[in-house]
Amino acid sequence: MVKKLRAFNFVKGYKITFTIAAVFIAAGLIGLILSIFGVNMFNFDIDFVGGTTMQFEMHQTVTSAISSDVAKITKDTSGIAPSSVTKAGDSGTQVVIRTKELDSETRDKVFAAVKAAYKLPDTDTPIKSDYVSASVGNDLKKSAVVASLLAVLLILVYITIRFEFRSGVAAVCALLHDLLTMLSMYVIFRIPFNMNFIAAALTILGYSINATIVVFDRVRENKKLNPKTPFGDVVNMSIHQTMSRSINTTLTTLFPIVLLLILGVSSIRNFAIPVTVGVICGCFSSVCISGPLWTMMEAKKKA
């Protein structure tokens, strides 16, 4: 395996790696395109689309065990896993359940089930049982998109100054690949699409560009040292020379994230899964996509 990898020409073998990339991004890309036509393939969470909030008095201090038990009861009764179950009230004896939209009948059923399970007084009524709007407004979404696009644009300008324009385009393509693969994860595994997606996407934005730059830096250096070597060979050589760095850095970055995945509570896990995927993709795309893509554009220029 290692030997095969050492002998593999990443530039010439682009058909294999680009096919893998196409498979990775397929689900995310389809989901994104369909969303333009109003077909939703994402599992949008309460902070994006609004939902329901219910608040009950539990007559005892709400521990994390009680929270997860109430979450389970809610899921069993309504069929929808709640977005969050948190404790509230000044002495911490109330639970707040947030779910995607439930009609009032289902909300009553959930309360009845919790009441039965915790033997709450018959006279108790929910403290709150209401519709809530999305907390991520259009302004916030817009500012996230505008900020990211502007960041990518300026990064492109910087890479153009330090390297050249085509390499910048290749780096941005690799970045798009990583983000789309992350989106694929959201589509395939029905990960709740919430504010944490923005955090995960920004993390991968930083990581992916970083990984690509390190490879391109080596290309820049080798090009100067070997001006007569064909560009494709320079790129392939650079990818191999930076390979141990690519693997070691990916491993060290993965340690804390995978541990979050193993140890974290479910909401944290929903953040750790896409980041783990994104980091692995960032490694894959910086090795297998950005370099070959740069070579292709370079060849087009000469042709």
Binding site: V62, A88, I198, L202, T203, R220, T249, P256, L260
Partner: protein, 428 residues
């Protein structure tokens, strides 16, 4: 040899200082650093905070459509105010038909936040009889300034209001009317939510012309009012709420990511860091040990800086931290791989270290600068939760670049100075 020992002692002392500062805080007289525990505000998602419910006082006869658009703009305005007041990790959502819920992280004085956020922000210029000359809709923007505004030359905190075109006309007409009064009440009052905040006199010389100006200044006098002037400028420029909000209740809420989210994240971070250290030592031996020391220093310095800037730490912030730690380790990996390459070519240790750093520096600088660009743009353009990511990322990347490039080289040279020169120790 002697020099190397001194370097080593100094480095360890610096490390100890920062760890101590992070744990207990530091009071240097001229500068006070809170301990990390006090200085870092943990986010709503990790530890919970306060939930404020406001109810809109909707005038009778308002159409359902007007209520719903009004509530949406109230939601957007509250979010803007939260950002302006520094509660970037807050949530705002509508509940039912006329309630707005604001969730903010734990703050010292939630009642104060309730007051500031819920201000309707109705700004009016009135004459002595209470007639409204112009109001918030005539104001284009408001900004805070600290400088001399009159001939006394004494610097004052003030708010500069810029009028819209109609506002400018109204101001000219209004000042003309006030200046030409003959009952001696030649002043106008600037009123904010019913409270007079300033009552400047209009000189009678303007009786025939009025004051023809596109801006007006609200002076607030001495030093004490800096906070208030900033708050006033923010709240006026964010605009007036469509409805009066009354505060229904203020209560504590738990962590939205679950009660155990903070503990488990910290544990994962700690074990992750230990694994990174073990991995680095296995791969790079002495250099790995050095990178671990540098990583510890980095973590402690980073924590102190987060505390100094009072960063609100929530999941996106933690994501930023993980990314910067990844990049800090990456800088080491890039350098050490280059050193190993040089050693494999049979170069001497001293030469390999110098040329390893020299060759690695362009990759490290370029990749860090692109990240800095991203962080700056996100800080500048982002709102809410994006801000905390951008802030931790920017601070982290700059610190890690400095520490990894300067500190590790110093330590590596120290190791060579201490006669650790067996190439096996560098894993050639």
């Amino acid at each position: 040899m002697k020099k190397s020992v001194i370097t080593l002692v100094v480095v360890l002392a610096v490390l100890a200082l920062f760890v101590a500062a992070a744990l207990t805080g530091l009071n240097l007289g001229f500068a006070k650093v809170d301990s990390v525990k006090d200085g870092i505000v943990l986010g709503l998602d990790l530890v919970g905070g306060s939930e404020i419910t406001y109810e809109a006082q909707i005038p009778d006869g308002t159409s359902a459509e007007a209520v719903s658009t009004g509530m949406e703009s109230a939601q957007a305005m509250l979010r803007q105010r939260l950002d302006n007041l520094g509660y970037t990790e807050a949530n705002v959502y509508l509940s039912g038909e006329k309630r707005i819920v604001v969730e903010i992280p734990n703050v010292d004085n939630p009642e104060d936040a309730v007051q500031k956020l819920g201000t309707t922000a109705v700004v009016q210029f009135q004459d002595a009889d209470g007639n409204v000359l112009l109001d918030g809709s005539d104001i284009k923007s408001a900004s805070y300034k600290y400088s001399a505004v009159d001939e006394t030359g004494v610097a004052q905190h003030h708010v500069v209001l810029e009028f819209t075109d109609t506002g400018k006309q109204k101001f000219t007409d209004g000042t003309k009317a006030v200046a030409s009064r003959t009952d001696g009440k030649n002043y106008l009052s600037i009123v904010m939510d019913g409270n007079v905040i300033s009552s400047p006199t209009v000189d009678t010389k303007y009786a025939s012309t009025g004051i023809d100006s596109a801006t007006a200044i609200i002076t607030l006098g001495n030093q004490k009012n800096a906070e208030y002037a900033k708050y006033l400028a923010n709240i006026i420029s964010a605009g007036q709420l469509p409805f009066t909000l009354s505060n229904v209740k203020l209560e504590a809420v738990g962590a939205s990511l679950g009660e155990r989210s903070l503990d488990t994240s910290l544990l994962a971070g700690l074990i992750g860091l230990i694994l990174v250290c073990i991995f680095m030592i296995c791969m790079y031996r002495v250099m790995g040990v050095i990178s671990c020391v540098a990583l510890c220093i980095y973590t402690a310095v980073f924590a102190v800086f987060l505390s100094i800037f009072h960063i609100n730490l929530s999941l996106p912030g933690i994501a930023g931290i993980i990314l910067t730690i990844g990049m800090a380790v990456d800088a080491n990996v890039i350098i050490y791989e280059r050193i190993k390459e040089e050693l494999r070519l049979g170069k001497t240790l001293r030469y390999a270290i110098d040329s390893g750093y020299h060759n690695a520096i362009s990759a490290i600088v370029d990749s860090n600068i692109t990240t800095i660009i991203a962080a700056v743009v996100l800080w500048w353009q982002g709102t809410g939760t994006i801000l905390s990511f951008a802030k931790t990322l920017l601070i982290g990347v700059i610190l890690s670049m400095i520490i990894m490039l300067i500190f590790t080289k110093l330590l590596l040279k120290t190791a060579v100075g201490l006669k650790i020169t067996n190439l096996k120790a560098y894993c050639a």
